[in-house]
């Protein structure tokens, strides 16, 4: 066991997989010699060679297309898109190709590509370095969509993603690369070394895709969150002092409906939290799923706490961010309902 932050855990996952499986290759902008702008691939090219860890041209569509071709030719490519905001130039290759290849060829061709990409706000990146586009990918059948909330899960889920024979879009909430941010930017940063999930095995292990995790059991209300917002939700729950069951969704698609709905049917109340914009966001699916399965148990409308329906504004990052105060307000409101 070692103490790792999320970047180190991701690095370790790739290192382990490059070592175990000669089919694994890593590619992306600035990820080779330089080690990535967030250092997630640091040292990997030196250790595993220039033909396994490839710097690429600045062309997200080309990166994903090349990864598909490599995947079809028996490799297991892990492509980095430098920021999730820059995945759009490559989205045709994701939606029309990567996600559809197995289906359209009735299983004869497929490309086991993992696309890693940092998402979310928190680094004063403004609208083009802060987006959380998971809803868009969750709507696309034929890919899996994952977002870890801690180093342990990050490594285990990334290894699962690389080993998976389906394509995976792997979102990394960059705000918690270094520590479990609780939503208060004015408090001193907390490192992962102070968190249980900062303990990460050095070697190979997996965390299963498609399974949510109850990170705090409780009986009064269920909070559905993922990525950074898991920690923010924990902070809000501490403040409000309600006995909430907090679930880390972890996999956006396919969704672990059972774990979510079992909880909500038990608590009868639910708050859905994400950082992405609200309208037609992923939270809508969570609300719709919960109300479909738990309608007769619900004692209050399911609430959504999300980023506002605007681009991420540079100067107002913390006014935009759905912080503990907003989650707390929602928790109070669902608890007070009737």
């Amino acid at each position: 066991m070692a103490r790792m932050n999320m970047v180190q855990a991701l690095n370790s996952a790739m290192d382990v997989m490059l070592g175990r499986d000669p089919r694994v290759v890593i590619l992306g902008e600035d990820i080779g010699y330089f080690g990535g702008v967030f250092r997630a691939t640091e040292g990997l090219q030196r250790k595993h060679g220039e033909h396994r860890v490839l710097d690429t041209p600045i062309a997200e569509g080309g990166i994903i297309a090349a990864a598909i071709g490599m995947g079809v030719n028996g490799l297991k490519p892990v492509a980095e898109i430098q920021f999730a905001d820059y995945i759009y130039p490559g989205i045709d290759q994701v939606v029309s190709e990567l996600a559809r290849l197995r289906y359209r060829s009735a299983g004869e061709f497929y490309a086991p590509v993992t696309i890693r990409t940092p998402c979310g706000g928190g680094i004063r990146g403004g609208q083009t370095h802060s987006q959380s586009p998971e809803a868009i990918f969750a709507h696309v059948c034929g890919i899996k969509v994952v977002m870890p909330s801690n180093p342990y899960d990050a490594k285990g889920l990334l290894i699962s993603s690389i080993e998976d024979e389906d394509p995976v879009v792997f979102f990394e909430p960059k705000r918690i690369y270094n520590g479990p941010f609780d939503g208060d930017p004015h408090k001193p940063a907390v490192p992962w070394s102070a968190h249980a999930r900062g303990e990460v095995p050095d070697g190979h292990y997996t965390v299963p895709i498609g399974r949510a995790e109850i990170v705090r059991p409780g009986k009064d209300v269920t909070v559905l969150a993922y990525g950074t917002m898991v920690h923010v939700a924990e902070a809000a729950v501490r403040v409000v002092g309600v006995d909430a069951e907090i679930i880390d969704v972890r996999t956006m698609a396919p969704l672990d409906v059972d774990t979510l709905c079992t909880s909500v049917c038990k608590t009868g109340r639910c708050v859905v939290v994400h950082e992405a914009t609200r309208f037609a966001g992923y939270g809508a699916e969570l609300v719709a799923t919960v109300q479909e399965h738990c309608f007769w148990n619900l004692e209050a409308p399911v609430q959504r706490v999300t980023g506002w329906d605007t681009p991420y504004p540079h100067a107002f990052e913390w006014d935009y961010f759905p912080g503990p105060a907003r989650i707390a307000a929602a928790l109070k409101s669902v608890m007070e309902a009737v």
């Binding site: 071709g69 079809v72 030719n73 009735a106 004869e108 061709f109 389906d166 498609g210 059972d258």
Partner: protein, 427 residues
Amino acid sequence: MTPRSRLHVPLPPARPGQEPDFSYVQISPAGAVNRPDVTAAARDIENLSVEMVRVLGDDHRAIGAWNPHLEPPELQVGLRHMLLTRLFDDRMQRIQRQGRISFYIKSTGEEAVAVAAGMALQPGDMLFPSYRQQGLHVVRGRNLVELMCQCLSNTHDMCKGRQMPIMYHWGKGNIFSISGNLATQFPQAVGWAMAAAIKGEDRLAASWIGEGSSAEADFHYAMTFAAVYQAPVILNLVNNQWAISTFQGFAGGEHRTFAQRGPGYGIPGIRVDGNDFLAVYAVTQWAAQRARQSRGPTLIEQVTYRAAAHSTSDDPSRYRPKDEWRAWPLGDPITRLKQHLITLGEWSEERHALLEKELEAHVTACWKEAESYGTLTGGPALDPLTMFEDVLKDMPANLVHQREEFRALRSAQADASGAMPPAAKEG
């Protein structure tokens, strides 16, 4: 007076009712273009992207450095493949007209582009075609029944009813799955070739796109990645002059040949007479040698003409002269190879007629067999429950539920036959 700019709008050489005019097509005489060594640097062979590699002369003889010196039996095989491709296309179009398949796309007039290239490559080479290279399947010996079953979406459909007609694939034959989205296969082929190079294999990838599709981003990605990593890939740009209703000027062909895009990226570009079986064979062979010797990618502009409608949904008489194809200066690839073989004394009109008959009968037999596996309107049918498979490797819970909902709905409908089904299970 202030100078003022004016928008230039490309104009095709002729519209319906006008005389066809192909004077814009620059044609080199057969045998006129030099054949550099495959070790030549891109910058030293730029002339290949402007001139036109041609082997078959007007006298039907093969001449010049690019003559691949194929033996007559090989030429006869090539002729057979092209003819079979054409007869297959003709038949499928007729079948579509009869409403027995929903859609079809012919490759008429462009058979050499697929057949000669396919023959010049190795079976292990991976092919990433567009929808107009059915000749590749023919070259690699695919049973036509399988292609027909795909078009029929029947019980033997390799796509299990999921794809429009002509969206074939063939794992064993190393032919990739055709996409409805134009050009996507081009950079995928480059990625496949990069993987071959990473693994140190001797296989290469070849891909085809239309000149119209070359305006898509994927063309640029393919060229950039191929150039940067010197990937062992052959990138064919099939300039058949038309992209549905727009002529090649709308893809940027007014000012330059498409082959000239190659040198812009540091990739050799070769412009070839795409209706000359021998020339297509020769340039493909040359490009393949380069690729296998780690000398990187080649862009080949296949100059040809889309003699047929874009697809069975199209009516070209709306936008080009009705008989424009007759005026096409590079002729017909089948006629030209046939005449070459006759000139060599290795073929005759009689043998040709016999071959045509044989192949027609073969196509008929294939169609009979294909139909026996089901048609749009009758015979055995694919189970619609299969539509929930292969979205992911293992069926996720939402699809398991949806399949059950669908199953319940169907049996309710079957039970009640006409009456409304009861509520689905998960109400």
